[in-house]
């Protein structure tokens, strides 16, 4: 390389990062950290699996308790007692308990409080209330 070339390339060696660049980078790193702390960034597959299991559990319970009717099925007479035997109901409850335990385990690992609250408390409570209403002997039949 000639002295002229060396002189020509000098501007490349003089380039400096803009003022405040370090702070800008550190702020971006902190923001990146914060965004990656959300469950969907950390364990997206586990969360989708948990949501799927939860939904499947709810649908299974609703199907077993007769709250979701297949197309074409006529509604039962309003005064008819529930046709779901106690044995099936117990099994559904066991399956639901198992599903929720698995779901809770997955969510525990992802340490997300909001989702844990939903799957630990709100969802089981809602399903329990729904089951109680369905099999409440004092409750009037569905229309």
């Amino acid at each position: 390389m000639t002295p002229d070339d060396r002189h020509d390339m000098e501007p490349l060696r003089r380039v400096k990062a803009p003022a405040g660049f370090t702070d800008r980078v550190l702020a971006a790193c902190a923001a990146d950290d914060a965004s990656r702390r959300t469950p969907f960034h950390r364990r997206p597959a586990a969360l989708w699996r948990a949501a799927g299991l939860g939904l499947a559990a709810v649908l299974a319970v609703l199907m077993l308790t007769g709250r979701v009717r297949s197309p074409g099925e006529r509604p039962q007479a309003s005064t008819a007692p529930s046709v779901v035997p106690e044995k099936d109901l117990q099994q559904a409850r066991r399956q639901l308990g198992w599903t929720l335990a698995v779901t809770t385990g997955v969510i525990d690992r992802s340490s997300d409080r909001a989702l844990r609250d939903i799957f630990d408390h709100r969802l089981p409570d809602a399903i329990n209330r729904s089951l109680h209403q369905t099999f409440d002997p004092n409750r009037k039949g569905r229309s």
Binding site: D8, P11, V15, K16, A17, R24, C29, A30
Partner: protein, 176 residues
């Protein structure tokens, strides 16, 4: 600020001029260069446990160069949408003539005569002081290929800078 981030601040300070310099020489736009340099550091931050301290600079250089080429490729794609298809457009991306560029105008114009890949090689070698074999290892090229590319780039730069040099010479003669 947590201790990790405080330690990382030293890393940023140590390499920011080199990373920004490479980005600026390659994309020739100060704003884009700053964004790209920032993105390179954020990526290093994410992988701070995997990249050894002594490998920081080569790692940053490689990532920055790739980010620059991706950026220019995206811009070329946008330009292609507006005009007829040109497969060699990447190597002739019209670099924006930015008055805020911190490179001198004549040098910036001369850099514009090079392809983005050649600009990054010139910056790595002449700007950041990497040796030919270091660049070759960093970019997965042979040392010979780097040498040839740099030789061509230097010749093109010399031709582009010749009128400016002549004018400067005249200016000096007139001034003396």
């Amino acid at each position: 600020m947590n201790s990790d981030l405080q330690e990382f601040a030293d890393v940023v300070r140590a390499h920011q001029d080199a990373v920004y310099g490479l980005a600026l020489a390659t994309v020739r736009d100060p704003d884009d260069a700053a964004d790209i340099a920032q993105e390179a550091f954020v990526r290093l931050w994410r992988r701070r446990d995997e990249v050894a301290a002594k490998a920081h600079r080569p790692w940053l250089m490689k990532v920055t160069r790739n980010l620059c080429l991706d950026h220019l490729r995206r811009r070329t794609r946008d330009l292609r949408r507006m005009g007829p298809h040109d497969p060699e457009a990447l190597d002739r991306v019209p670099a924006p003539a930015d008055p805020e560029s911190i490179l001198p105008d004549d040098f910036d114009r001369a850099l514009g005569a090079l392809s983005p890949r050649a600009r990054s090689l010139v910056s790595l070698h002449y700007g950041q002081g990497f040796k030919l074999d270091e660049i070759a290892a960093m970019l997965g090229m042979t040392t010979g290929a780097v040498k040839v590319a740099l030789h061509r780039a230097r010749r093109t730069l010399r031709q582009s800078l010749a009128p400016a040099r002549t004018l400067a010479g005249h200016g000096q003669e007139n001034g003396s």
